[in-house]
Amino acid sequence: MLHIDLADQYQRGASLIHRLNPRVKILGAVLFIAAATILPPGAWLAYGLLLAGAWLAAHASQLGIGYTLKRSFVALPFALAAITLPFTVPGQPIAHLGGLTISAEGSLRFLSILIKSWLSVQVAILLAVTTPFHDLMRGMRELRIPKPLINIVSFMYRYLFVFADEALRLMRARAARSAVGTGGKSGGGLMWRGRVAGGLVGNLALRAFERSERIYDAMVARGFQGEIKTLTSPPLTDTDRNVLVGWVTYLAMLLLVGFIF
């Protein structure tokens, strides 16, 4: 079954994490991931502290640890890219597999990469699910990301669901006019199927083009002069400041732990 349930990732809530200024959340998540990246391989104690921080934040968001945990394995398939490390990094042999030797150093590095990746993705999930998209964009604008880029991305997000629906309709139409033989065999060769999919993409491209013209005309009709005006966001509260200072201190301590032990 082909089904696109593309949905906004934001989960409504009123927790401490939900109420934080988006700037604080973005900075917090990026600094957390930076700390995880900088830590040396095998700094288990520091990894443990990172996990504690990520879970504390998930708990404070009232979504619960299970919520982020369940979705935290999206990046796992990419582990394949590093899977050869235990065999290729020279070091203390710990096991033999066929003609290959598994080294302690290689396994250590492989495990460290997996853990860092898994920790990082949990915090990235938390950022996305506790912050409405337009707040994310506003936070980024206030963190000096170029305004035109923010505006383009905001525009894109607004029409993402429209085009996902269009794509879904195109694919449903393709399914409707395609017969399926016994054993699930579909007609046509691989190249033919690919060209049909390409035709759908071209069709969608033209719809997008024409829609963008209509949107632009509608904007001009409403007085658009090339500048998108936005509200300024509230200043940082004391809570925002305290959380940010606390978070940065915790990350700094954890880095210290990681490099000493």
Partner: protein
């Protein structure tokens, strides 16, 4: 689980944790420079239409990536889109569109990491758009006008662009010590040689449809203004990086940089404490002499490129003044 993730066999989105801090930083520097230039270019090209057009077409590419076709064994082919966007709109517009797509995938759907986003934008946006566009233009020059020339050029451009993106990803992973180059390069290359065929077929299908229905649109990309110089700069950079990747491997006596280091007195370990700090974490790939050399050569290339770029800018400003 997010369906776009499930449907996506193109695992070019590097998650966080796989790139070392230095490599991630280099990726961000490249991405920021490219995005800044792309914003200026498209603003000049499209004026106040820039924001709605780029935004809507980015949404299109995002949705088009979900349109798939069954290949074999439960896998499916689908589009990455950098080359298609570059052919229709020109490479700089494609860079912006792909940046928006990849950015939202990372930020909202955790498809690719946040620190790794810099190189994800470079691999899937900058490199695919420019190699795809260049190859497309070269093939069109050779084959001339007409529908077949358009389709062949699109196919070759799409395939090569995916390969370049995949090989760049392999080099970055190797430079980060996440995978040895002699395994990562053929593995990524092999898998994406097939995925690139899917990209090529869909790109051809889309171009054929647009050619039949709205031929006029295909001229926008070709008339995108004053980008020849910038294009050669990006291509030069790409070639330099590839040469950097292969030079220590090709050389039987990998002693060039060692020799330089010895001449300069670095290898006497006079800088022991500093060296220790770096060997501890910032450069975990120091263990592998080949990879560390590749990174060193790559970084050197970037620095030289940066100096040349700044010098050229100063020169031009002086000429204008």
């Amino acid at each position: 689980m997010h369906p776009f993730v499930v449907l996506s066999p193109v695992r070019l989105h590097i998650p966080d944790g796989f790139l070392s801090p230095v490599v991630a930083l280099v990726g961000w520097l490249l991405a920021v420079a490219a995005i800044g230039y792309a914003l200026r270019q498209t603003r000049g090209q499209l004026g106040e239409k820039q924001i709605p057009l780029m935004g809507v077409l980015a949404a299109f590419i995002f949705a088009a990536q979900a349109i798939n076709f069954p290949v074999a064994g439960g896998t499916s082919g689908h589009l990455l889109g950098g080359t298609l966007a570059a052919i229709v709109l020109g490479p700089w517009a494609a860079v912006l569109i792909m940046t928006s797509v990849i950015g939202v995938q990372a930020l909202v759907f955790q498809d690719g990491g946040l620190l790794a986003l810099g190189f994800n934008i470079v691999n899937m946006g900058l490199l695919t758009a420019f190699t795809g566009h260049l190859v497309y233009q070269v093939v069109r020059k050779i084959l001339g006008e007409g529908r077949n020339s358009l389709l062949v050029a699109g196919a070759v451009g799409a395939w090569i662009s995916v390969m370049v993106g995949a090989l760049a990803t392999a080099v970055e992973l190797a430079a980060s010590g996440a995978s040895p180059l002699k395994i990562a390069l053929p593995a990524m290359g092999g898998v994406h040689a097939l995925i690139g065929v899917g990209e090529a077929v869909i790109t051809v299908g889309a171009l054929a449809f647009i050619y039949a229905a709205r031929r006029d649109l295909l001229n926008i990309g070709e008339s995108a203004p004053a980008q020849a110089r910038a294009r050669w700069a990006v291509i030069g950079l790409g070639i330099a990086l590839v040469v950097a990747a292969f030079s220590p491997l090709a050389s039987g006596a990998p002693d060039g940089l060692n020799r330089v280091a010895a001449d300069l007195g670095f290898d006497t370990r006079a800088l022991d404490p500093l060296y220790e700090v770096f060997s501890g974490y910032a450069l975990p790939f120091v263990n592998n002499p080949n990879v560390s050399k590749i990174v060193a050569v790559g970084l050197g290339t970037l620095i030289v490129f940066g100096i040349a770029f700044v010098a050229a800018r100063l020169q031009r400003n002086k000429a204008n003044a």
